[in-house]
């Protein structure tokens, strides 16, 4: 705090001495944003993870061998969660600014803008509240789960793990609650770093190290997009604070100094950032590999929270996308295609954690589809429900991995529900699977429908085809989800342990005497709570907190309504008000239907039709999975043999199992050329720069010296001859010179 104020003072002094305009003493705040200094305690949502990190550091320094770091982190995160809830209940309904620390306050030399101002200030609106509640809530629960899951690492990496989780939560809170893009960028980089830290947790495993690097590099590509977007937003709108940005965009005052191309570039860079962080084509390949990290990390960072930061970014900066609506078409198509592609890959994998990873990519695709078809509400709701059901799916996978010595192959596990101690795991997984498959009346059913229906309502290039594609993806999702559950949890009891050795060797000599150790209290409790959460996540759909506004979609829609993402609300609000605003801004042209004619599908209202279609599709996928993987498993083998026997179809399962060879394509198209280029550069540097120039010049004196070297033969007389000869030569020359000089001079 002191440091930042010192820096600020220095900066201000520089500004003053440079004779520049003083920054405004009070930041320009739009009329409906209030400064809520009485919510100062909200700062502890951010500080508590930091305190936890420092305490974990102390634990590491004191070589604590107990579960203390886990309890510290759990308690701190629980504190953050409780504060988030308090903030939600104390939230007045209009966006608030909670100033914490001064960071950067620069005057604009040109005097056009109010100056660059980026402080540690929270921007509290319903969107950030929605996010912060599930981030801290799931963070607390998953940390508690990890206290048991990571116990085999007690005294080794245990403290490091929880320190990493604290860093992650700190960065994530900064990202979500930031009131300006720079603080968001800080959090954005922070979560990327925490992700790298935790994917590479098992740093002795080369695969984990490679996965961590891959994730980091892929994310850096996205981060570049975000950095460029922030620069362009600053140069175009003159501010990077959300409230001022919204004011500037609404009033249209930015057009005075607008130079004509940045408006269309900003959404593309934001998209690049979002696609990197949220694992979409073309930057999705890091997420499946990130499963090398410990499972609680996969559940927290790579399923529930961090990967939704891309959705959050787009929702937060939705106005920029509305200014350039073509970009939303791209968002929709990328999301839809990613959803389908990842689902097809998920069909053919055998590692259950990897299936869940592809399913995450696929569901994130749905969310982008929702954003692209102007349903920020659907996207936000799907983020919310997905956080719960995907977390529970990963946590159950983790429990299985923990209990069966690292076994994750669904061909080698069966009938878990009948093994004593595994009932909670199996039921929690069933709930997660039902929600993921979009089984009627589960949470995933409502959130997915909100997106699918909007794809048919909104006009756009091929959006209807995109809608059908998403429905087909929903069918695939139901199938591969229940393929996992029927294989692993149902059927007759059969299992093979994995090859991982746990620290506590109560099942030392496996294969003969292997007993899977069932999850105990912490893991069971967390799985049960999050499973209940996954069920209860459908309740908000029926909650209407605002009686006066007839918004479809309940609580989450209300949450989205008051935020910067309100341009993409369902129903009248979107088509009436926000799209009108776009037209007023004069950039969008005609997009979306002007009047409120509701399109129909099969003679029904789209929303109703979608409930029926997706219910039927989900049920079909479930039945197909039940047939092939529960009742007649031999049929699945027969189908596989059939597919492999016919050349015209055999490529399909092979390509899906090999992830459509995307990694290989990237290897060939990007890594190999870069590898060749880098080696060429290396050769250039090594031989031309180093060899010819540096060493070459250094070699000249040595070569010259070689000519004279024979003179130094160690015989004193030869030295003397040289010397005498030299003196004689000089004398001769002088005499001759004097002679000539005398002739020349004297005539």
């Amino acid at each position: 705090m002191i440091l930042s104020s010192i820096i600020q003072r220095i900066v201000l002094a520089t500004v003053e001495s440079g004779g520049l305009a003083q920054p405004e003493t009070e930041p320009v705040i739009s009329s409906d944003v209030v400064v809520a200094t009485h919510h100062w305690w909200a700062g502890f949502i951010l500080y508590l993870p930091l305190i936890s990190l420092i305490l974990c550091g102390l634990c590491a320094a004191m070589k604590v061998k107990s579960k203390l770091p886990a309890w510290i982190t759990t308690v701190c995160l629980l504190g953050s969660f409780v504060l988030s809830l308090l903030l939600y209940f104390d939230y007045g309904g209009s966006p608030e600014l909670i100033p914490l620390l001064s960071w950067i306050n620069l005057a604009d030399p040109g005097g056009n803008f109010s100056g660059l101002s980026a402080n540690f200030t929270f921007y509290i609106d319903s969107l950030s509240l929605l996010w912060i509640m599930f981030v801290t809530g799931l963070g607390t629960l998953i940390t508690f789960y990890a206290s048991e899951y990571m116990e085999s690492d007690l005294g080794k990496g245990y403290t490091r793990f929880f320190a990493g989780v604290s860093v992650f939560l700190f960065a994530m809170v900064a990202l979500v609650l930031a009131d300006n893009l720079l603080m968001l960028y800080l959090g954005w980089e922070g979560v990327g770093f925490a992700s790298y830290w935790l994917i590479g947790y098992y740093y002795q495993r080369p695969a984990a190290v490679a996965a961590a690097k891959k994730a980091f590099i892929m994310n850096r590509i996205g981060d570049l997009g975000l950095a460029l977007a922030i620069y362009l937003i600053w140069t175009t709108f003159g501010t990077i604070q959300y409230d001022e940005l919204m004011d500037v965009i609404q009033s249209g005052s930015w057009k005075e100094s607008y130079d004509g191309w940045t408006i269309d570039a900003i959404p593309w860079f934001l998209m690049l950032a979002a696609f990197g962080k949220s694992a979409q084509i073309p930057l999705y390949v890091w997420l499946p590999d990130a499963m090398e990290g410990p499972t609680p990390v996969s559940a927290l960072i790579h399923a529930a929270t961090m990967v939704t930061a891309g959705i959050y970014l787009v929702a937060r900066t939705y106005e920029f996308f509305l200014l350039s609506p073509e970009s939303l078409h791209v968002v929709a198509w990328v999301g839809g295609v990613t959803a389908l592609l990842a689902a097809t890959i998920g069909l053919a994998q055998h590692d259950i954690k990897r299936i869940m990873a592809y399913s995450t990519v696929s569901q994130l695709g749905y969310m982008f589809l929702g954003l692209g078809v102007l349903s920020t509400y659907g996207a936000a709701y799907h983020v919310f429900t997905h956080a719960f059901f995907k977390a529970v799916l990963f946590l159950t996978c983790g429990a299985i991995m923990h209990g069966f010595a690292g076994q994750l192959d669904l061909r080698k596990l069966s009938g878990l529900i009948r093994i004593p101690g595994w009932r909670i795991t199996s039921i929690a997984m069933l709930i997660g699977c039902l929600a993921l498959a979009g089984f009627p009346l589960t949470s995933g059913y409502f959130s997915k429908d909100a997106i699918l229906a909007e794809a048919f309502i909104t006009q756009g290039p091929g959006f209807e085809a995109l809608g059908w594609m998403a429905i087909f993806t929903a069918f695939l999702t139901a199938y591969y989800t229940f393929r996992v559950w029927f294989r692993v949890c149902a059927g007759k009891v059969e299992y093979e342990p994995g090859d991982e050795h746990h620290g506590d060797d109560d099942h030392g000599h496996h294969s003969e005497a292997f007993h899977p150790h069932a999850p105990r209290f912490a893991m069971n409790f967390v799985m049960a709570v999050i499973a209940i959460g996954a069920l209860a996540a459908s309740v908000p759909y029926f909650m209407d907190t605002k009686a006066d506004e007839a918004l479809a979609g309940g609580w989450v829609a209300d949450m989205v309504h008051d935020s910067t993402a309100q341009g993409g609300l369902p129903g009248l609000d979107r088509h009436g008000q926000s799209m009108g605003d776009i037209v007023e801004h004069g950039h969008a042209g005609h997009q979306g239907e002007g009047d409120h004619a509701h399109p129909t599908l099969f003679g029904m209202d789209v929303h109703t039709a979608m409930y029926v279609i997706s219910g039927v599709v989900g049920g079909l996928g479930l039945l197909l999975a039940a047939w092939l993987h529960l009742f007649r498993r031999q049929d699945a083998d027969r189908l596989k043999a059939f597919l492999q026997r016919h050349w015209w179809i055999a490529w399909l399962p092979r390509a899906m199992e090999h992830k459509w060879y995307v990694d290989e394509i990237y290897q060939g198209l990007i890594r190999a050329p870069l590898w060749i280029a880098s080696h060429l550069m290396y050769a250039f540097d090594r031989f031309l720069i180093d060899g010819l120039l540096v060493d070459g010049i250094a070699r000249i004196p040595r070569m010259v010296a070689r000519w004279f070297q024979p003179l130094h033969n160690g015989i004193v007389q030869s030295y003397a001859v040289t010397m005498a000869g030299g003196v004689a030569l000089i004398a001769l020359l002088m005499i001759l010179f004097l002679q000539f000089w005398k002739i020349g001079g004297g005539g």
């Binding site: 160690g714 015989i715 004193v716 007389q717 001859v721 005498a724």
Partner: protein
């Protein structure tokens, strides 16, 4: 008498310089042709003395005492150098019982 004296004076410089040159060449040739370290050292002394004679002669010719002052310096340096060189020779001889310069070629390495 005066004429003789002046003629002698004029002749004297050439004679002295000739003597100096002859001494120097004898020293040089001796230095180059002999292999015995002590003899080589004596030859360098001879070259020193040749230089000293030239200094004295030219100094006397110009009625300038600088030449003789230089000779004093030369003699001093030569004495010091003689002590040093002989000490070196003794040390060399202790290592290897020879005074042949060719046997000490490895000193250049």
């Amino acid at each position: 008498m005066i004429l003789l004296a002046s003629a002698f004076g004029q002749l004297a410089l050439a004679h002295y310089l000739l003597l100096s040159g002859v001494l120097f060449v004898i020293g040089l040739v001796g230095f180059l042709s002999r292999r015995n370290l002590i003899v080589m050292f004596l030859c360098t002394e001879l070259m020193f003395q040749a230089a000293a004679i030239a200094f004295v002669a030219v100094g006397r010719y110009y009625y300038d005492f600088s030449g003789q002052v230089f000779v004093i310096f030369i003699l001093t340096v030569a004495a010091a150098e003689a002590a040093l060189a002989l000490a070196l020779v003794v040390l060399l001889f202790r290592r290897k019982p020879t005074l042949n310069a060719e046997d000490w070629r490895d000193l250049s390495e």
